[in-house]
């Protein structure tokens, strides 16, 4: 089997799983459907590993740098001779990295779900949807064409929609699914317009053609697109900001973040796969994909990315400290971590020594996938055992759920950036990149990082400590190997993922890059992290009233953070009061009463007129004679005096 075929098979296998389970699901025994899905995904993972090996160590590198490898090209929708949507698959360092992340996490989730979703009514459908999602996500990361990415972008949106709404008899799930889809759709509008602008400016939708045409100073396309300006920014800047809005929507950046916490209505493994590890980082991936254009053509847009990322990182971390639903905490944590990745990209630039942020962002994406997926799966097994999402229903679970406890702790240490866990390396890279180029972002990031360690350990202590363990509690994990093994595998990633020499593989230019670890840089973030862990331990390890006192002291700020700074309410106001009440209803009214009213009035006017005219036909003989005689007189007069 050639590499081309292998690469093509990687996304097609999950599609096969979807079609098989989706169309023929009724004829497949429930016992096998999950296994079928998992096996197919496992095959996909193996192929992805082969591909990664081939790419990184055999074919990818030419002359010391990684170059894109394109395959399976199809002229899908030709518009003009020079403009068309091409489908294809591309291997380059970031896509291969994403390929690994997606297939790995997806396989883990498939296996985990064998246990977690056991006995569910629509078990087969669930696996079908999982296959669909994995296919679309793989299609997204392998896209060679920005329109192709938009296509799969929408498709991951819809599979996310279907999975969030998996429990569709719950109104909250229906609402959450709808919200997720609509908010991202709204952001995608920006993406679409950005694509149109880029396509118009560069006469191509192919990523590498776009990069080629728009990231070389002096190229005629670049000159044209940076020359024209609108409201003080060049066309290219606008286009990229619009594209980034699409990315921000999918990656739940402020102010589009509101859908992600609600999306936790879906089954927990879905949250791990879609809403933590893969789909939500699509925005990061998109910026990374277009990074040369951002960095060379529109540094302003990149700055926007940086500030949005940094602000969201802090903002979401603040909210995460106040939430009591464990999945919500993890959701805000995800938002915050994606903020880290984006500001890492945002602080990067083009040129020697400036691209460290790019690698750092990608690195964090990579490590985050494993530890955040792990956190979610851990949360999943806790919820599976406790049957509740609320922290107050938990506590003291370390005895009854030892494996979950250990893996959760490892993941928590990783996300807090404690050496030598995976998160430490990626975060250090981010901080060092930020410190070099933008102090504001650096300090904001540092505070967010400190808060990260705090909220995650608040969560950890609230779940596993806080109350005295019930000595007689039976072990919740017994027999749940399908759930435990994926967690342990992910824990391996969370612990050792940082030791991969990431810069050797992934960099903005394709050339290897050294990610420096310097003691002077380490001390501050790690110290702050440890301090917050200690603080969390003091506050939450045992039951005490100190946290409540702090809450009272914070007062309004705490309430605002607890209510997520009222962003949801603002959205509700805009949709319900403005879009529905002030736009929808008047439009519907206008149509019924004015537009259709005109039609109806024309009709009734005609009828009224005919009613008036029919009076002439009165049946009165003398009236008729009068009309006749009057007419004769009129004619006589006319003939005599007018036409005489």
């Amino acid at each position: 089997m050639t590499l081309d075929n292998i690469v093509l098979l990687i996304p097609l296998l999950p599609l096969l799983s979807f079609l098989l389970l989706g169309l023929a699901g009724k004829h497949i025994s429930v016992r096998f459907s999950g296994v079928i899905g998992s096996v197919i995904l496992g095959a996909s993972l193996v192929l992805a590993l082969i591909t990664a090996y081939d790419y990184f160590f055999a074919i990818g590198k030419q002359g010391g740098e990684f170059i894109p490898y394109l395959t399976a090209q199809l002229n899908w929708l030709p518009f003009n001779s020079d403009l068309s949507i091409n489908l294809g698959l591309v291997l380059d360092p970031i896509s291969v990295m994403m390929l690994l992340v997606v297939t790995f996490v997806s396989t883990m989730v498939h296996v985990y779900s064998l246990g977690y979703m056991k006995g569910e009514e629509r078990y087969t459908t669930y696996y079908a949807y999982l296959g669909l999602f994995t296919f679309t996500m793989l299609g997204l990361v392998l896209s060679t064409n920005i329109f192709q990415m938009y296509i799969f972008w929408e498709l991951v949106g819809v599979s996310s929609y279907l999975l969030i709404g998996f429990y569709f008899s719950r109104p909250s799930a229906v609402a959450a699914a709808k919200k997720a889809f609509i908010v991202t759709r709204f952001a995608d509008l920006g993406f679409l317009i950005g694509i149109l602008m880029l396509g118009y400016g560069a006469h191509s939708y192919d990523f590498f053609t776009l990069i080629d045409r728009l990231s070389h100073p002096g190229s005629s396309y670049l000159v044209a697109m940076t020359g024209a300006s609108f409201l003080g920014m060049s066309t290219l800047t606008w286009a990229l900001i619009l594209v980034f809005i699409g990315g921000a929507g999918k990656s739940a950046m402020f102010p589009f973040h509101i859908w992600l916490p609600d999306a936790m209505e879906g089954p927990t493994p879905i949250s791990a796969l879609i809403h933590a590890a893969t789909m939500v980082v699509a925005g990061v991936y998109l910026v990374a994909r277009l990074f040369p254009i951002f960095a060379v053509g529109a540094p302003d847009a990149l700055t926007v990315v940086g500030y949005v990322g940094a602000f969201t990182a802090l903002f979401a971390a603040t909210i995460a400290c106040t939430q009591t639903d464990i999945k919500k905490v993890l959701a805000y944590s995800t938002i915050s971590q994606i903020g880290f990745m984006l500001f890492a990209l945002g602080v990067a630039g083009w040129g020697p020594g400036k691209t460290e942020g790019f690698t750092a962002g990608m690195f964090h994406l990579f490590t985050h996938a494993s530890f955040k997926a792990l956190l979610f799966l851990g949360a999943g097994s806790i919820i599976h055992a406790v049957h509740s999402n609320e922290m107050k229903d938990m506590g003291g679970l370390r005895k009854s759920m030892p494996i979950t406890h250990i893996t959760f702790l490892l993941a928590a240490l990783a996300i807090s950036g404690i050496p030598p866990f995976a998160g430490f390396f990626s975060k250090e890279a981010i901080f060092s990149a930020a410190e070099q180029s933008n102090p504001i972002i650096y300090w904001v990031g540092l505070i967010a990082g400190t808060l990260t360690a705090f909220y995650i350990f608040r969560l950890y202590f609230m779940i596993f400590w806080h109350k005295t363990p019930d000595a007689h509690a039976h072990n919740h994990e017994k027999g749940e190997w399908a759930m435990m093994i994926p967690m342990m595998l992910l824990a391996v990633g969370a612990v050792f993922g940082g030791f991969i020499p990431f810069g050797d593989f992934i960099s903005a230019t394709g050339k290897p890059l050294e990610l420096p670890i310097e003691l002077s840089h380490i001390i501050l973030p790690v110290g702050l992290g440890v301090l917050s862990i200690v603080a969390a331990a003091i506050l939450y390890r045992k039951e005490s009233d100190v946290p409540q006192r702090i809450v009272n002291a914070l007062g309004g700020f705490y309430r605002a953070a607890y209510r997520k700074f009222y962003i949801d309410e603002i959205y509700l106001f805009i949709t319900k009061k403005i879009v529905f009440k002030l736009m929808g209803r008047p439009s519907a009214w206008f149509d019924r009463n004015v537009v259709d009213g005109t039609v109806q009035k024309t009709g009734s006017l005609t009828i009224a007129l005919s009613h008036a005219i029919k009076r002439v036909q009165s049946g009165k003989l003398q009236a008729y004679t009068m009309y006749f005689f009057g007419g004769v007189l009129l004619l006589v007069v006319l003939l005599l005096y007018k036409f005489a």
Binding site: K614, Q617, S618, G619, K620, L621, Q622, T625, M626, F629
Partner: protein, 104 residues
Amino acid sequence: MEQVPLAHLLILSSALFFLGIYGFFTRRNMITMLMSVELILNSVNINFIAFNKYLFPNQLEGIFFTLFIIAVAAAEVSLAIAIIINLFRKFNTVDVEEVDTMKF
């Protein structure tokens, strides 16, 4: 009779004609309407005779027309009265205002 100008005969006939018209318009009884019609026809006859006498004494066409009109009038009256009697049987009235079923 030779001293009577043609105009006076015409005035007589027109006056009679429009009396008939007026009667036809205002009478509600169908038989009296019929009488008005007779007046109209007679005024026309006077005209024909007068024109024949004064303007074309060498011809007889005016007389012929009068004769035909009288014949047609006879036919018309007999038919009209047949219709009126039939209507009277149906509606039990000869008031033209009430016989108005042929309408919208």
